[in-house]
Amino acid sequence: MENLYPPIVDGKSVYDLNSQKYLKMWHGPQHPGVTGNMSLELDICGDQVIKCNTHVGYLHRGFEKLMERRRYINCFPIVCRICVPEPDTNEYLFAAAMEDLMGIEIPERAKWLRTLNLELSRLASFLMWIGGQSGAFGMGTVAQWTMAHRDFVLDLFEEWTGARIYHMYTIPGGVRGDLPEGWDKRAEKTIAAVHKLLDEINYVMLNNAIFKQRAVGLGVITPEMVDAYGVVGPNARCCGLQRDIRKDQPYLIYDQLDFIIETETAGDAYSRTVVRWKEMYQSIALIRQILAKMPRSGALHATLPNVLHLKIPKGQTYLRAESTRGEYGYFMVSDGSAFPRKVTVRGPSYTHAMALLEDLAVGVNIADLPGLMVSLHTYPPEIER
């Protein structure tokens, strides 16, 4: 019985779907293994994928278009929605792009609070991702733990910013308020719990025979592929590239913080998991550093012109930040009016979930496909903005 229909994995061979040897299958858009809605159109042979086509369009909200008809301040509440699990990068980049075009320097304390905000949301986003990654390999219990811990982080956000998911905290010009009384203590309690959980994840996941069996060697990204596909973030670091925007082009106050770029060399789903897992420890350390070093007094917000009439001088700029998935970028063009002429959002999932996944999926067992997809840490909402 073995190899009755040898799979065609070179991606070039022509095959006949009507030959009864192959099957077309849709994975998603309502698949629990996908964060947000996206579907994969698969041609399979046996249980091996021979062709994968990513389909998006289930989440297109037209944010970039909406922004063209909104005052700058009115874009502020919508940009966070571009990426649900890690909205703060959007808030930061939108504000930073505006500030860059206007030539506004934000107060020192606001920079620290923004950094804290970004790191905390990195932690939340990674926790959610572990849930996806473990869940995709049938380890639902781990997912329960991490999702619960994410909720504890969201509790911190709720207390600090007034909302759990869409914080709308990083407002153009600075931030919207200080940390509440006693927040530091509660934050420490939560991140200590996350720290403990990460230690345990090492046992249940990284050193779990089943997980290793399935993740090692899955979806290997080679260093050559990185630039050819526009791969960024942990997906690039998993094959040995020392790239992290926080270090390479430090923004906010990252140059005043101590941390290292975590890398692995194998380039497979397992090493990506390890990179992210290690990065979470870095984030925890960063949050502790920020809380220890942060100035506790001083302005939170630079005086902006009246936001109801605000116009930005003609010009264009690009700003990037390191999100959990890698380079996130905002390209903003102003024509001198009260509305942005164009804002293009570069979400890292755009390249990861489309061109890269389509090629990596070929030859993969369909049972491993969700695991592969999550190992690229793709968030469909940032693909279609």
Binding site: I73, F76, E158, G177, N207, N208, A209, H301, L308, H309
Partner: protein
Amino acid sequence: MNLRDILSPFFVWKRAFEKPYSINTLSAPRPGAPAYRGFHKNDVSKCIGCGTCAEICQNVSIEMVPVATAKDGDSGLRPKIDYGRCCWCALCVDICPSGSLTMSNAYTWVEEGLDKDVRDTFCYTPGVDSKPWDNEPLGYKKPDGYELLLLDRIPMPHLSPEERLSSFVELVKGYSRELAIREADRCIQCGICTATCPAHMNIPAYIKAIREDNIAAGLQILYDTNPLPGVCGRICTRLCEDVCALSHRGDAISIRWLKRYLTDCVEAEDYKDILKTEIKPLGKKVGIIGSGPGGLSAAYYLANMGYEVDIFEKTAAAGGMLRYGIPEYRLPYDKIDKDIDFITSLGVKIHYNTCVGKDISFDDIYKRYDAVFISTGLFEPYFIGIKGEDNEGVISGLKLLSDVTEGKEVSLGKHVVVVGGGNVAMDAARTARRLGSEVTILYRRRDEDMPADREEIDEAYEENVTFITQAIPLEINKLADNRLEFIWGKAEMHFEEGAKRPQPVLIEGSRETLVADTIIAAIGQGMNFAWMDGEAFANIKFGKWNIDADRWGRSSDQKIFIGGDMFNRTADAITAIADGHRSARAIDKLLNQ
């Protein structure tokens, strides 16, 4: 695969005995965080219905609905929020200029009654439609340390007090283009001020024109409702600023200085081009008595409508109290001339030195013109009503001010006492300071009760005017050296219920003395109709104080209209201007429809 990897996951078996993460929200509800952005709350008694919340809401969730009758500074509208649209961004809360809008920390709201009108489902007007969280103290409020509104006024450059005392040079220097645009930028364009302005000037529109650096458009907007903008831009009582939305948590917009900026930007020669007045003569004539702001305003609008306008003015120059009352350091004469010259350039004729009742009879005018507008103002100073007031050296504030305007030699001597606490008193006192005298102001009530503009009182302090408050004048005596002895007594304040201001009551036996070279009475002025005569006069019905007139200024003789200080109660330039404009429209209705 090694054994370690198979065993390793069991290291965390103890988690099985840990407390579950999930909580039973039915038995132990989890409230939102103290600053959670939940459903809105609005302190409707504080809300001014400015609609700024609706303006900033990017989801168009807010509908402004009428819930109370409008009054000064409050449109009576209140925000109704559509939770099918709201995204809980709280920008509305952050920008609310009155600080009335906040949020509760309520997570959930179960709407009952599916048969409800679609317009009300998941929609409510916070503070009006009661909700369980109305009295919950927790929830989101605008955090400290960050502000979307620009609450601080751009400071106006002034002459220093020393520079001021040496001349009658204008004290306020005026905004530069950059400062004016920055000040104009603060305005949130709500339009709350428009209703309070007696002339209902379109304030947000001309502020917008300044912001957009469109001076010509701004000037046109000014002239739609005010033909003396250069004057008002300097001395307006600016009732609008009292209600400005921004005044609730910060400084009101400098509406007056912005108006001044607009007029200062345009040279007199360019007014004609910008305002593009095209006049089609109607062949009808209107006579106006008095060339104060009331008369001038009526003249401007009537001339624009095509009437032939003659103004009769008893003095040698036009402007009324603007010229003969308000001192030059507040309102330079050339600025009055600039506004008036534009009005006369439309063909308005001013007959100077023509006192009605003396040089021409009222009856004559009544017969010669199709309609008559009277705005002769208040020019009879009140007396203090004490012994010795008829001594030489006791003069009225008005007399001092008009003598200075006319360029007469005025010698007040070293020590001057001014009686009164209104604007005329301040003007007289500060004029006397500029003439080199030392000045003491005597006022019956407390400092905070003075009716004069606070800014003027403060400037008088800066100019080293001495204030004696709660002082009641008792008598004036001539001393041997020709100086005057002014005797006054200390007063106690009596607070009566319902009264706006407390009553000063002389403390029995209190008797203080001041010695002065000149005593200036500035306690108000009244009107006088002795100049009216003839058949028309007989037709006019008088009220208790004044000629009876409707809100258009129309007297019982339909051809006769009145306006200005003799008609309104605010007795300021802008109300006189509004009266003139309103009567002009009524006259047009009478003659042209």
